[in-house]
């Protein structure tokens, strides 16, 4: 294996300049720059020759020649300038990307402890903004100093070549500038630091006043708060003035001294020319060369600033994350170890930085395949013990042996190959159910980014078996049933579903009538949207798709003909006001938006619309606002969106509208909708709604279960279950799995570890969010399928599940107080007896 790279946090900023990949580009850049400098000086010489040789001697040929060379040099140097920019950008962006990747990889391996003290915002900021300037510096590090110094030298050399005396005099100003500017810059930096600090206090003060606004109103303390604020503004004002003065002083000094140059040249050069000791052409060339000194000079000063800021940012960021990972990630010279399933803990202790003994003198041992329950109050150290055995915490004393290996000496890869860990509040990642279920297996087999191409990955049958074992099968089935099919992909399925629909109505229709609202042409559907109630069909044209309906000219005409425009707009206004009022300040969590007609990502625009509604009347609103309100009203589903009621008159108008629309469509555009009918699949509806030919009325778990039972029965009869499960596996779980309930998340987390089937299983209150039934199911599974095969250490919060464990350890204040079988401990009438009594 290659020599490991030094950790990014130990690297200096300079090491990136010629880092792998950059070296070639930097060399190429150097080459381009040196040619470019030459191409920059050439026009000056041509300028001199045009005046001295061509114009003075009236030589047209030479005029054309020199002007030609001049033009060529200018074009050439522009091309080269562009090339240097390209190279510089490449270096900058590649370096920044490289830094980001390395730093992120490093951050992910940092101990859990670190993240308790660090805000996610800090990490995001470090990875995005903070690394931009250092990246820029690396891009400029060779190009800017070399090209500008070369240019300076080139122009200066040329000046000396033209006239050494004049050159020496006009360059004499630069040392003075080089002395003065850093002095002034220091002053500016000092003021700038003060400004940053004050601005921070300033922001905090405003935030405080705004969050305490009711107190200010209550006390009428406008002036007191105003004075406090004014004082800060005044302080900031003074600091900003000082800061600005310094900055302008830098600029002015620089400007003043560089403009002194031409003055010196005029006075001395003019004198020399008049006296005939300098040619006029040389003077012209001299003047323009001197003028050109200014640009590289300015760029050098800018580079100096980027260097200063970039260095500070880089160092500050790297220092912040300069913490060693507690364990190596992968073994360097061997494969991952296959460990035996025994666990031996001796005199284990875990002491925090502040000296608190979370674990103290723990001794225990488990043979391969033995199961142990850890019980005790919260804070007794049971989770800490589990985390130490699982290497998620680095214990501070004693030893933990798995097989015959000390845990602290193993790499992460050894651990994940042998151990499965289900956390107390498991984390589910954005993606499909399938991706989340395969997550642990992928990580174990060393996923290289190419999905599926791995023989060690579990089969669909394995996965379905685990879905059953963990009880998430029904949930996945539900996701499948809630999927919407497209005509191009699922033709066979669709036919089968229409067939099932008929059987369903015969066999289960009556039983489920309480829970399902069947589609009925003559009734208002309270669990369907206003749009669905109006069209009572699935659109076949994109013009009439739900999201476009409120924009469709045809549909808008229909609405006004059916007297629906105004009542719908006022329904929209009501919905907008109420929803913004209730949900306006809530985060985009699915729990909050399930019952809302406004989606989480639309909330901001509707907040603005709600502002408009306060200031304007309905007829004053612009077309876009009206369109949004109409769209909102068309989504309104009385059975779900409880913040508004459906006025009776509107309900009647909509029912009449339904008949009117059907008639109108039949006349104007017969193919535009497929109206709901028993013999047709409805592509705008979910599979479940298609089977029902209706919609469920309630999300109540008990009703869901009754429905589920009937549907599963039906699907088994029709040999259709697996197809639906496969569709369900592609359900997107949302950010952090927020479209799943707490119980579903936990089941999924257990499922992904069960699928990996580790030799040692550590469960940290892994079933706490599950209902009794699911909990019992998983407990039974552990006892029947996992006993004697895998070692289990389970932190338990409910004592009714521990009877059949091989060992029960009762913990208190970081110590194991008693350990034995359940019956032994109960007979002893000690801690466990007391705990069981209390629960």
């Amino acid at each position: 294996m290659a020599k490991p790279e030094p950790s990014i946090v130990k690297r200096s900023l300079f090491s990136w300049i010629f880092a792998a990949g950059n070296l070639k580009l930097q060399l190429l850049l150097l080459l381009v720059i040196s040619v470019m400098v030459f191409a920059n000086v050439l026009p000056l010489e041509m300028q001199r020759r045009v005046v001295n040789e061509a114009i003075k001697l009236r030589d047209i040929d030479k005029l054309f020649l020199y002007c030609g060379i001049f033009l060529a040099a200018v074009v050439f140097s522009s091309v080269l300038k562009y090339l240097t920019n390209v190279f510089q950008t490449l270096i900058t962006q590649r370096t920044t990307a490289h830094m980001r990747k390395d730093l992120y990889r490093h951050i992910l391996t940092l101990p859990l402890n670190f993240f308790r003290k660090t805000q996610p915002g800090t990490v995001v900021n470090a990875l995005t903004t903070e690394l931009t300037l250092p990246g820029n510096f690396v891009g400029m590090a060779v190009a800017s100093p070399v090209s500008n110094v070369l240019k300076l030298l080139g122009f200066a050399g040329y000046l000396f070549w033209l006239n050494p005396l004049l050159a020496a005099v006009s360059l004499s100003i630069y040392p003075i500038v080089m002395f003065l500017i850093p002095l002034l810059q220091k002053g500016a930096n000092k003021a700038n630091k003060k400004r940053v600090d004050t601005a921070r206090t300033f922001a905090a003060r405003i935030a405080e006043s705004i969050s305490g606004i009711h107190e200010i109103h209550g006390n009428g303390s406008y002036r007191i708060e105003g004075r406090k604020y004014n004082k800060l503004v005044d302080r900031l004002l003074k600091i900003r003035i000082v800061w600005s003065l310094y900055r302008f002083a830098v600029k002015t000094t620089n400007g003043f001294f560089t403009s002194l140059g031409p003055f010196l040249v005029f006075i001395l050069g003019g004198y020399l020319t008049i006296k005939g000791r300098l040619e006029l052409g040389a003077l012209v060339a001299f003047l323009s060369a001197q003028e050109r000194l200014f640009d590289p000079w300015k760029e050098l000063i800018e580079f100096y600033q980027v260097y200063q800021d970039g260095q500070v940012n880089y160092q500050r960021t790297m220092e912040y994350f300069d913490i060693e990972a507690e364990h190596e990630i992968e073994p360097r010279d061997r494969d991952a170890l296959e460990l035996e399933g025994s666990v031996e803990v001796k005199d284990l202790s875990f002491v925090t930085d502040t000296g608190i003994h979370l674990l103290d003198g723990i001794n225990m041992s488990l043979k391969p395949g033995e199961h142990m329950a850890l019980v005790g109050f919260s804070g007794s150290g049971k989770s800490t013990l589990a985390l130490c055995i699982g290497q998620l915490y680095k214990y501070t004393g004693g030893s933990v042996m798995i097989g015959d290996k000390e845990v602290s000496g193993l790499t992460k890869k050894d651990m994940v190959s042998n151990i499965g860990f289900v956390a107390q509040s498991p984390f589910i990642f954005d993606g499909t159910i399938e991706e989340n279920i395969l997550y642990s297996c992928r990580a174990k087999t060393g996923d290289n980014g190419q999905a599926e191409a791995n023989q060690e990955m579990p089969t669909l049958d394995d996965t379905i078996a685990v879905l059953h074992q963990t009880g998430i099968f029904v949930d996945v089935l539900r996701f499948g049933l809630n999927a919407i099919l497209t005509p191009d992909k699922h033709a066979e399925l669709v036919e089968a579903i229409v067939r099932i629909r008929k059987n369903f109505q015969q066999d289960y229709g009556a039983d489920l009538a309480d829970y399902v609202e069947f589609f009925d042409e003559n009734k208002y559907l309270y669990h369907s949207s206003v749009a669905e109630n109006l069209t009572f069909g699935a659109p076949n044209k994109s013009e009439f798709a739900n999201q476009n309906l409120a924009k469709s000219e045809y549909f808008l005409n229909f609405l006004s003909k059916a007297d629906l425009t105004r009542p719908l707009l006022s329904l929209g206004i009501n919905l907008c006001r109420q929803t913004v009022d209730i949900l306006g300040n809530l985060p985009p969590d699915a729990v909050f938006f399930e019952q809302s007609p406004i989606n989480a990502d639309e909330l901001e625009e509707f907040k603005i619309l709600e502002e408009h509604l306060r200031k304007k009347r309905l007829h004053e609103l612009n077309a876009e606002d009206r369109h949004k309100l109409l769209e909102l009203a068309l989504r309104f589903t009385p059975g779900t969106h409880k913040m508004a009621a459906l006025p009776e008159i509107l309900e009647m108008l909509i029912l009449e509208g339904r008949a009117l629309l059907r008639q109108k469509i039949a006349e104007d555009d017969p193919g535009a909708f497929t109206f709901y009918q028993m013999s047709e699949y409805i592509y705008s509806q979910t599979i479940l709604n298609n089977i029902f030919f209706g919609k469920t009325k309630t999300s109540n778990p008990k009703a869901q279960e009754i429905i589920n039972q009937s549907i599963i029965q039906l699907l088994i009869e029709e040999d259709f279950l697996e197809a639906i499960i496969e569709i369900g596996m592609h359900y997107q779980v949302g950010t952090k799995g927020d479209k799943l309930s707490g119980g579903q998340q936990q089941k999924l987390a257990i499922a992904r570890i069960f699928l990996k089937a580790p030799r040692i299983l550590i469960m940290d209150e892994a079933t706490s969010a599950l209902d009794n039934k699911s909990q019992t199911r998983i407990q039974n599974l552990l006892e029947t399928r996992w006993k004697k095969k895998s070692t289990v250490i389970s932190v338990v919060h409910r004592l009714d599940t521990i009877k059949n464990y091989d060992k029960v350890a009762v913990m208190k204040a970081g110590k194991i107080l008693e350990m034995g079988t359940y019956d032994e401990l109960m007979a002893r009438k000690g801690m466990l007896y007391e705990l069981v009594g209390k629960k």
């Binding site: 209730i582 809530l586 909050f592 019952q595 009621a645 459906l646 309930s741 209902d771």
Partner: protein
């Protein structure tokens, strides 16, 4: 479906009705209107037919109930014997503690007439309270005071009949 019957010319929404109910429940009494509105929006109405269980002993359903309409009976089963505790009428709120932490039910609640309940579950409660961490203290206060009131009343009303079980009293000392 009774919705259309309720829709008079100026119908009040279910949300508004829920809000009125929540404002009268002691458990939520420390909460500002802003938070109550969210609960009023999040809670759902469930119908239970006569004889149906609303919750069952030993199960942790994680829900709090307010009886809007109907009647339900609290029961406890011990070694196969069912003891009727009392009947709960409309206007009663049960299960606030369930929202705070996982506990199995010690009793069953069974509807004895067709019953409509307003239901709030633990997940919705927890996610909402997470938005207002300062308010959790108000809930704790209401719970502490309810427990205190309960035990005080018990001691005043039944303390003298308690006999042996006197030794086990003192829930306010937890």
């Amino acid at each position: 479906m009774s919705l259309s019957e309720k829709n008079k010319s100026t119908p009040s929404s279910e949300f508004q009705e829920n809000l009125e109910i929540l404002r009268q429940i002691y458990f939520f009494s420390g909460l500002p209107l802003e938070t109550l509105k969210i609960f009023a929006y999040l809670c759902t109405r469930e119908n239970f037919k006569q004889g149906e269980h609303i919750f069952r002993q030993n199960e942790d359903d994680g829900q709090a109930f307010y009886i809007v309409e109907g009647k339900a009976r609290l029961e406890r089963e011990d070694n196969g014997d069912t003891t009727v505790m009392r009947d709960c009428e409309s206007g009663e709120f049960l299960g606030g503690l369930t929202l705070l932490g996982e506990t199995g039910r010690l009793f069953s609640l069974k509807s004895v007439a067709d019953t409509t309940c307003l239901v709030l579950n633990r997940e919705k409660f927890a996610k909402t309270m997470a938005q207002f961490p300062d308010l959790m203290m108000k809930i704790c206060k209401a719970v502490a005071q309810s427990i205190d009131t309960w035990e005080k009343r018990f001691l005043t009303d039944q303390g003298d009949q308690c006999g042996k079980c006197m030794g086990r009293l003192g829930v306010t000392l937890i």
